[in-house]
Amino acid sequence: MKCEIIDHGPVRVVALGGEVDMSSSPEARRAILGVLSRSGVLVDLSQVDYIDSSGVASLVEGYQLARERRLPFGLVGVSASALMVLQLAHLHTVFPIHGSIEDALADG
């Protein structure tokens, strides 16, 4: 799994790629929660080939922590395989989903 934290102007982006599964989702979780200790977060899922329920759990934790702290949280560039999983979990209507980082910034 690829997991990069990128400063993108006023927001920080956690860019995930490859397979977010049981062995790699703890790293994704740490990155998302770590960013939320200081600022809002956008999670870029455009390069994700596979994400399972453990990866989705990391996103749910991030979303809940962001709400608790009143910080922005969103997903950007959700890949087709990630979207399938979010739809199965009925989370595609819960998480704010943006086409790109620029769209997310414009949406506020």
Partner: protein, 139 residues
């Protein structure tokens, strides 16, 4: 039934990728549409992850998970065997999706993606055999 794949791996999280990759290749060889293939691979990955998490306390090199994929005339049969402690099927229940919390989605995914899921009887006091079925074409 024709065996399409039989692969065993240690019950360790980093090894589950091998099961998923082998399943993906097998389903591609069978001409599965990518969306169906990805769903089935997800269901198998979730089932294998349940075994590692709940059967082997997060993972054990002494544990083994074996995936078999069989072709049963238009129906794919997936059998996931392990040598862990006997699972209690009554505890394997999907949760209410309205309850937003991390975890507990794996069983829901499997039920959504497979037509049938059942624990088959296994001799002895340990081990499990989970069978999942999915019809992929008309008989």
């Amino acid at each position: 039934m024709r065996t399409l794949l039989r692969l065993g791996v240690p019950a360790l999280a980093p090894r589950l990728k091998e099961l998923r990759e082998a399943a993906r290749e097998t389903l591609d060889r069978m001409g599965c549409a990518p969306s169906l293939r990805d769903g089935l691979v997800l269901a198998l990955g979730e089932a294998a992850m349940n075994v590692v998490q709940h059967g082997f306390g997060g993972g054990s090199a002494a544990g083994e998970i074996t995936l078999e994929i069989l072709d049963n005339a238009g129906e794919l049969v997936f059998r996931l065997a392990d040598n862990g402690p006997r699972a209690d099927p009554s505890k394997v229940k999907p949760r209410d999706l309205g309850d937003l919390r991390p975890g507990g989605l794996g069983s829901h995914f499997i039920r959504q993606l497979m037509d049938e899921t059942v624990f088959l009887p296994v001799e002895g006091t340990a081990g499990n055999l989970l069978e999942m079925r999915k019809r992929v074409s008309q008989p």
